[in-house]
């Protein structure tokens, strides 16, 4: 199998990159553009917020910088603490982007940890799926909840590695593995990735992709980190497809004993 053929499919949409990137927290629009380009990401998340009225008429515009016909936009429901707010946000996003139905659902439960509110998430997911949205859903690493979300009809399940913006990497790889092994839709680790090795670990576990924002935007050199992440996702994916060696308790020499002269 060549890597060129190893595409990511989300509800019938095909992508070459398994790195999904957020567009928040960058210094300015130019840095956003350069980082996204360096990352090779094809799917980018955006937030839906009130328009500034009467202020900054010449302000750089996200849609001009990263055109929706060049990138697959994934509007998020960031900042929503209720199913109702999340559903409202998705409806507005759909109207904004000409009936684009792919959305990232996140319903938060706590300001300090930004952990997902599971019951509100399930409720929002049901409503959105009924209304014809293609829901990629941010969730915790509970395999039962992931299974429920898939059964509701979400097109991808996105378990967190660690709290949003924490950079702690995958806290519970065994739960993520459990989710991957039971899922019939793509599993995309979302939130908590901090550096390149975290992304590689996610892919080595068998994830279909990784979504990150702070790991790139808050790096000392975001454009360089974006490039590192691109490589890490590719390396991790190749390692997964290559099938790693088993872990062993004891050593196993790499050079033969036969022919030793001492």
């Amino acid at each position: 199998m060549t890597i060129a053929a190893d595409t990511l499919t989300i509800n019938g949409r095909t992508f070459h990159s398994r790195l999904l990137v957020g567009t928040g927290k960058y210094k300015d629009m130019e840095e956003t553009r350069l980082a996204i380009e360096a990352s090779g990401a094809e799917i980018i998340t955006v937030a839906i917020r009130r328009t500034n009225i009467g202020q900054n008429p010449g302000e750089a515009n996200l849609l001009d910088t990263l055109p929706p016909d060049q990138y697959t936009y994934l509007p998020n429901t960031a900042g929503c603490y209720s199913a109702e707010d999340a559903v409202r946000t998705c409806r507005l996003a759909r109207e904004l982007l000409d009936d684009h139905t792919l959305v990232k659902l996140e319903v938060l439960g706590d300001e300090k940890t930004l952990f997902p509110h599971v019951t509100e998430t399930l409720e929002a997911a049901r409503t959105l799926v009924e209304e014809g949205f293609e829901v990629m859903v941010y969730t915790n690493d509970d395999p039962i909840v992931a299974r429920e979300l898939e059964q509701i009809g979400c097109v991808a399940v996105m378990p967190l590695a660690a709290p949003i913006g924490s950079g702690l990497g995958i806290r519970n790889p065994y739960n993520i593995l459990e989710i991957i092994e039971n899922a019939n839709v793509p599993v995309i680790v979302d939130a908590g990735v901090g550096t390149a090795s975290d992304a590689a670990v996610a892919m080595e576990l068998g994830c279909d992709g990784v979504l990150m924002n702070t790991a790139i935007a808050a790096a000392q050199n975001p454009v360089l980190m974006a490039s590192a992440m691109k490589k890490a996702i590719e390396a991790g994916r190749e390692a997964f497809l290559a099938g790693r060696m088993p872990r062993k308790r004891y050593a196993s020499a790499s050079s033969p004993i036969d022919g030793t002269f001492f």
Binding site: G24, T51, P57
Partner: protein
């Protein structure tokens, strides 16, 4: 008439259509979505929809976010 736009009280002419409101606010060149009293006001109907006094209007756009 008085209406609420993005949480702020705004004075606007009576019998304004949604399209006219957008022009009144100087937003005619922006990509945006509108909600009136929690209902989506689709772009295709902006010339038909008439804003009523005390309507709560939300006008949103896409910005950077994770």
């Amino acid at each position: 008439m008085q209406i609420i736009v993005n949480g702020e009280a705004v004075e606007a002419p009576d019998n304004l259509t949604a399209a006219e409101l957008i022009r009144h606010l100087g937003l005619e060149n922006e990509r945006l979505a509108m909600e009136i009293n929690r209902q989506i006001a689709p772009r295709s109907r902006h010339d038909e929809i008439v804003i009523q006094p005390n309507d709560k209007v939300e006008i949103v756009r896409a910005i950077g976010g994770g």
